[in-house]
C-alpha cells in the first residue's frame, strides 16, 4: 500500500493538516502506527486509539478508528475500561513522555503489571512540547528546559525498561529516523498478546532542540541515526564502540497470562459455561 492509499483508507482527511510544528517527529510515528495496522489488515471498526493530553495525544483525531482523547495522563486507565468491557477490541494508547511517565506513571506501571492486552506507543521527544518546552521525566540530566533554565538536575526515566520491570511482556524502543524498524516493531507489539510498550523516540526541534542547541530537524534526525544502535548489534560490539550510544530494538518479549482472558475464565466458571 503506498502512502496515498494509506492516507485515503486510514486517515480522516478532513481533519488534516495536523497541528504539529515543522520538523516534529510525531508524524513519522503516527504514519508507522497506521502502516502497521494496515499491514495487519485489521478491521477499522475493531481498532480503538486512546490518548491523553499533549502534542502526541492529538494524533488519534487524525486517524480513522474509534478514537478517544482523554484527560492528561489517564489514557491507559480509559483504555483499560474499553479493553475490559470489550476484549475483542484492539486497543492502542498514544502517549507522550510526560503523559505516560509523569502524570500517568502510576497507570503505566499498573497496566504493565496487569499485562492487559493494550499496546502503548510513547512518543518520546524528551520535553513538554505543548506547554512550551519544560523538562520532562525523560529530559537528560544537565540539559535545559524552560523550567530548568539552570540545567535539569533530575535523572531521566528509561520508559521501555520501566514498563518491562513493572511486568509489561513486550517492550521495545525505536526512533523516528529508523522508520522501517519502527513499523516492524509496532506491528510486533500490536500482535503481541499482553501489555506491550514501544518507546518511539521523536524529535522536537521547536523547543527541546532549540533549548539544547541540538540544531534543526535534519540535524536532530542525524543524531538519532548516529546515536541509536540495535541491542542485538550492540551485544556484539566491543565496549569502546558502545560509548555514547543508546539502545533500541526489542528489549523484552515473553508470554504471560493476559488480564482480560483471566477475568473471563472467572466469568465462564461462575456462569457455568465451562
Amino acid at each position: 500500500m503506498d502512502n496515498n492509499q494509506l492516507v485515503d483508507q486510514y486517515f480522516r482527511k478532513d481533519r488534516l493538516p495536523h497541528i504539529w510544528c515543522p520538523g516534529c517527529g510525531h508524524g513519522v510515528i503516527m504514519h508507522s502506527i497506521v502502516k502497521a495496522i494496515a499491514e495487519l489488515g485489521w478491521d477499522k471498526n475493531d481498532v480503538v486509539v486512546v490518548s491523553g493530553i499533549g502534542c502526541s495525544s492529538r494524533a488519534p483525531g487524525y486517524m480513522d478508528f474509534n478514537t478517544l482523547h482523554t484527560t492528561h495522563g489517564r489514557a491507559l486507565a480509559f483504555a483499560t475500561g474499553v479493553k475490559l468491557a470489550k476484549p475483542h477490541l484492539k486497543v492502542i494508547v498514544i502517549s507522550g513522555d510526560g503523559d505516560a511517565s509523569a502524570i500517568g506513571g502510576n497507570h503505566l506501571i499498573h497496566a504493565s503489571r496487569r499485562n492487559i492486552d493494550i499496546t502503548t506507543i510513547v512518543f518520546n521527544n524528551n520535553t513538554y512540547g505543548m506547554t512550551g518546552g519544560q523538562y520532562s521525566p525523560t529530559t537528560p540530566t544537565n540539559e535545559f528546559g524552560t523550567t530548568a533554565p539552570h540545567g535539569n538536575i533530575d535523572a531521566p526515566f528509561d520508559i521501555a525498561n520501566l514498563a518491562g520491570a513493572a511486568g509489561a511482556t513486550y517492550t521495545a524502543r525505536t526512533t523516528a529516523f529508523h522508520m522501517n524498524q519502527m513499523t516492524t516493531i509496532i506491528k510486533n507489539a500490536l500482535e503481541h498478546k499482553g501489555f506491550s510498550l514501544v518507546e518511539a523516540i521523536s524529535v522536537c526541534p521547536t523547543y527541546y532542540g532549540r533549548k539544547n542547541k541540538k540544531g534543526d530537524a535534519p540535524q536532530m534526525m542525524k543524531w538519532l541515526k548516529d546515536t541509536f544502535i540495535d541491542i542485538k548489534v550492540a551485544d556484539k560490539l566491543p565496549e569502546e564502540k558502545r560509548v555514547g550510544k543508546l539502545l533500541m530494538g526489542e528489549f523484552k518479549n515473553v508470554q504471560k497470562p493476559e488480564y482480560t482472558e483471566e477475568y473471563h475464565k472467572i466469568v465462564d466458571r461462575l456462569s457455568g459455561v465451562k
Binding site: D64, T70, T71, R74, A77, G81, V82, L84, N106
Partner: protein
C-alpha cells in the same frame, strides 16, 4: 401475595442491587471507607451476570476506567468517599463535556482531607455541584434509607443514560451502613432506560447531533461499527474539537439546557406535614430521618412544623422552595456540615422568609433533639 424477596441489607449493598437491577455491567474503582462494600459486592456479583469488575490503582484511574467501560457500551459505575471524590473531579468534568453516561457514588464521610473515615458527614454537597472546573450540568441524588438507595441507584442509572452524563449518588455513612429490610422488585417492575443508539444503517452518524424530539445525541459504543472521536475539548456535533467561541456557546447551552429543560422530571422531593406548616425543616439524606422524628415530636407538642426533603439536591428543587418561602415563617435547614445546602436555600428564598441553619461537622449525626431545640428557638 407478592413473591418479592424481602431482604435485610445495608445501604451500600442496596446500591449494588439497584445498580444490577438497572443493568450495571461494569465497575471500576478504588477502595475507600465507608464506600468499600459497594466495590466488594460488585466484585462478588458482576461476573455472575457477565459483567466486569476491576480494582484500579487509584481513584482517578477508577473513574477513568469506568468512563472507558461506558464508552465501550456497558452501563458503568464507580463508588468512593470524600477524598476519593475530590480526586475524581477532573474526570467528572470529562464525562460531562464528552457526554458519557456514568454513575458515581459518593458515600460521604467527615472531611476535609482524610478527615473522619468512619464517621458520617454531608460535607460534599457543594463539591458535587462545583468540584470540577468550568460550567457543566450536575445531577446529585441523596437517598435517606436503604430502600431509597436501591430505587435511587436505579434512577441514577436511568438519568445517566437518558441525559448522557455523570450522575452522582450522594449518600452518607449512616445510609451506607445502616441495615433495613427492603423488598427487591421483580424485573420489569421499575422502568429501565437504556441509552439511545444510532440506527445501524446510519451512514452519517453524528455522535453529538441531536435528532428532533430527542434530548441528546445517540451514542454508539466503540466497536459497534460507528467510528467516531470523543474528546474533553469543546467539540461540535461530529465530536471533533472546535475552538469556535460560537460553537462553544451552542454546546454549553446544549449541556446545560438538557437538564434545565427537564427539571420537573429530574427533581424529586418529599413533603411531610406541610399543609398548615409555619416552620419547615429542610433536610436530606440520613439527617432527614432525624428531621422527621423532630417534626413528629414538635407536632405532638402542638407546633405547626413540617418537613421538606429534597431527594434530588442538584438540580435544586428551586420552584418548590420558592413556593414554601411564600407561605412559611421559618425554614430550618438541618445538615451534617457547617452550612452548604443552606446557601442554596438562602439564594432561592431571596429574603422572603427567615432561613436558619443547624449543622454539625464533627462526625456526629444531627439528632432530633438538636433540631427540636433549634426549631423551638426560632418559633
Amino acid at each position: 401475595m407478592s413473591s418479592r424477596k424481602i431482604k435485610l441489607m445495608q445501604g451500600n449493598e442496596a446500591c449494588v442491587e439497584g445498580a444490577l437491577y438497572a443493568g450495571m455491567k461494569f465497575y471500576a474503582g478504588y477502595p475507600i471507607t465507608p464506600s468499600t462494600e459497594i466495590a466488594e459486592i460488585s466484585a462478588q456479583k458482576l461476573p455472575y451476570v457477565g459483567g466486569k469488575f476491576i480494582q484500579m490503582e487509584d481513584e482517578i484511574a477508577g473513574i477513568a476506567t469506568a468512563i472507558g467501560g461506558s464508552i465501550a457500551g456497558l452501563k458503568s459505575m464507580t463508588a468512593t468517599s470524600g477524598p476519593g471524590f475530590s480526586l475524581k473531579q477532573e474526570n467528572i468534568g470529562y464525562a460531562a463535556i464528552a457526554e458519557v453516561p456514568l454513575v458515581i457514588v459518593n458515600v460521604q464521610r467527615g472531611g476535609p482531607s482524610t478527615g473522619l473515615p468512619t464517621a458520617p458527614a454531608q460535607g460534599d454537597v457543594m463539591q458535587a455541584m462545583w468540584g470540577t472546573h468550568g460550567d457543566h450540568p450536575v445531577i446529585a441524588i441523596c437517598p435517606s434509607s436503604v430502600k431509597e438507595t436501591f430505587y435511587e441507584t436505579v434512577r441514577a442509572f436511568n438519568l445517566a443514560e437518558k441525559y448522557r452524563m455523570p450522575v452522582i449518588l450522594l449518600t452518607d455513612e449512616v445510609v451506607g451502613h445502616m441495615r433495613e429490610s427492603i423488598e427487591i422488585p421483580e424485573p420489569g417492575e421499575i422502568e429501565i432506560y437504556d441509552r439511545l443508539r444510532p440506527e445501524t444503517d446510519d451512514q452519517n452518524y453524528l455522535p453529538y447531533g441531536v435528532n428532533d424530539g430527542e434530548i441528546v445525541g445517540r451514542m454508539a459504543g466503540f466497536g459497534e461499527g460507528h467510528r467516531y472521536h470523543i474528546t474533553g475539548l469543546f467539540h461540535d456535533e461530529t465530536g471533533f474539537p472546535s475552538n469556535s467561541t460560537k460553537n462553544a456557546g451552542v454546546m454549553l447551552d446544549h449541556l446545560m439546557s438538557k437538564i434545565s429543560n427537564n427539571t420537573d422530571e429530574i427533581i424529586t422531593f418529599e413533603e411531610y406535614l406541610l399543609e398548615d406548616a409555619e416552620t419547615v425543616v429542610l433536610s436530606y439524606g440520613s439527617t432527614a430521618r432525624s428531621a422527621r422524628s423532630a417534626v413528629n415530636k414538635l407536632r405532638a407538642a402542638g407546633h405547626k412544623v413540617g418537613m421538606f426533603r429534597p431527594i434530588t439536591i442538584w438540580p435544586f428543587p428551586e420552584k418548590q422552595v420558592v413556593e414554601l418561602s411564600k407561605r412559611v415563617k421559618n425554614i430550618v435547614v438541618a445538615e451534617m456540615n457547617l452550612g452548604q445546602l443552606v446557601l442554596e436555600v438562602q439564594r432561592v428564598v431571596e429574603g422572603r422568609t427567615k432561613v436558619h441553619h443547624i449543622g454539625k461537622a464533627n462526625g456526629e449525626v444531627v439528632t432530633p433533639i438538636d433540631i427540636i431545640k433549634k426549631v423551638e428557638e426560632v418559633l
